[in-house]
Amino acid sequence: MSTNNDKLVLGGHEFDSRFILGSGKYSLELIQAAVEHAGAEIITLALRRANEGGMANILDYIPEGVTLLPNTSGARNADEAVRIARLSREVCGSNFVKIEVIHDSKYLLPDNYETARATEILAKEGFIVMPYMYPDLNAARDMANAGAACIMPLGSPIGSNKGICTREFIQILIDEIDLPVIVDAGIGRPSQACEAMEMGAAAVMANTAIATAGDIPAMAGAFKKAIEAGRTAYLSGMGRVMEKGASASSPLTGFLQE
């Protein structure tokens, strides 16, 4: 695989950056610097944070030229997600939508069934649907069949910074789903973002890890490098890992030479 002309394609739109940045949990004034250091071309935004015409309106702080990815946080079922998505298209003027359907206030784990339902409705309405989901192969297939533009499985619970606890299952999605798989939620440090990319993830979305860093723009920059390194490693073909020490000293196929 070549590293030249390596684009992330979502709903027909091409992106050079594979780092999707979140805009929550840190001061609005830092968003621009974070985007620049991250080299991010897509930034997520909770529509419920938009405060049009009012104080502290997050929309006023999104740099020009960055693709807005509104999310449906606050939705507890498919119908609410659909309503928020339609509103987000009006407010943000973007066809992109990240579906978040959550009716668990403790862990904020997504509801795959309701998410697939919302995906189907919104894809038919022309949205570029990016569903946030729990990494389950059947659910991912449902979402793909429903018209999703990518699949966004969680690495671990939102905000936990625990890394890719669902590694085996995300790997299955990467192997089996013919859509970009973007690891979202739980990525706590650049090395984990790199790991996701080495696994073959198409992109990484991160927020809390950057928002809770001492130097937010610098951490955004660190993630950028890690994601690029992981992508290059993946495209270069990862070296093999010796699981039982060196090569077997008595080959099982030696008899073929006898």
Binding site: G24, K25, Y26, S27, L28, A46, L47, R48, R49, N51, G54, M55, A56, G74, A75, R76, E80, R83, I84, L87, I102, H103, D104, S105, K106, L108, G159, S160, N161, T208, A211, T212
Partner: protein, 410 residues
Amino acid sequence: MSTENQMKDQHINESILSDEIKEHQKKNRIDHMTYLPDMEVLDSDVMDRVIAAMNEYDYETYTEADVRRALAHDSRTPEDFKALLSPAALPLLEEMAQCAQAETRKHFGNSIYMFTPLYIANYCENYCIYCGFNCHNKINRAKLNPEEIKKEMAAISATGLQEILILTGESRKKSDVKYIGEACKIARKYFKVIGLEVYPMNSDEYAYLHECGADYVTVFQETYNSDKYEALHLAGHKRIFPYRLNAQERALKGGMRGVGFAALLGLDDFRKDAFATGMHAYLLQRKYPHAEIAFSCPRLRPIINNDKINPMDVHEAQLLQVVTAYRLFMPFASITISTRECARVRDNIVNIAATKISAGVSTGIGSHVEEVEEKGDEQFEISDNRSVDDVYNDLLKLDLQPVMSDYIYV
């Protein structure tokens, strides 16, 4: 409460008692555990489980090692919560605060939500001996009409706030559900987030107010010790302990998104009350996993005609212990810090564990605009008079991010 119980009670707050109240306490009163007609009875075991857990809680048995173990845990159990609220945790308050701050940042980043309460009426049918609105307290009573509510809301909205908490005294007669509903409908025009802190009602009434635009309901249980509750709430609907305790569950059944909980610290044994408050929220969140949980941490304050009221043994350190214990037990919960506390305490607590702060507060009726003629007296004295701009700027100085709304009504 029987004389025997009173002798055992180490937590009598003398500052709320007067000779007149002591006389009233001797009179016969209705049974506080029996529902009145028209009060909806839920088939729920939450109250019994909360009370049983509280009764079992012996905070003297916890040691420093228990507290350290609780702090080291990744997610904390009710047993950890007990340790964190125990006297053994007080010497570890700095560690608790550090840990609570890390949890707050993880779940909320540096966001602090701003709001203001709007008292639309102070008529009350209850006799809660520590409250300025109680029906025997001689204060100026008032109720805003829709036009006045509109003026007040317009004035509040002009300060930049997007969240309002509508409050009334607890009088179904003077402030009926329809009246509160009309206030919600007006609020929808000016605000994104509408919360209610009004008398407990039935789930169909909560459903109606949800349709009118409200999505959050807070009910202070005051104390979870039913004997003490009985001795403090001498008359009115509020006297019925189980009806109040189950209000949050009825609100959730009525379709509200979030519910708020509080014990009024200083009325009784604050450790037990704080524990029961946390368990109440914990059990309801397990039963209704989508419910957004909020805590308030009010301490007793002086009222008109009794400036001596104080929170007994709940000093600032104990308050901080309660707030940080809530945060560590339920890291995802919203925690509001009241204007009952001074600016110094509030600013420090939002920097550690609280996520919500009121600003531009008055607990009186009709005080946001001059044109509102009829004015009613306040519920309690506030300790932080800062305007919305002041609080906004002070949050920025703390490197915190004031958030006006993080919510969509769907």
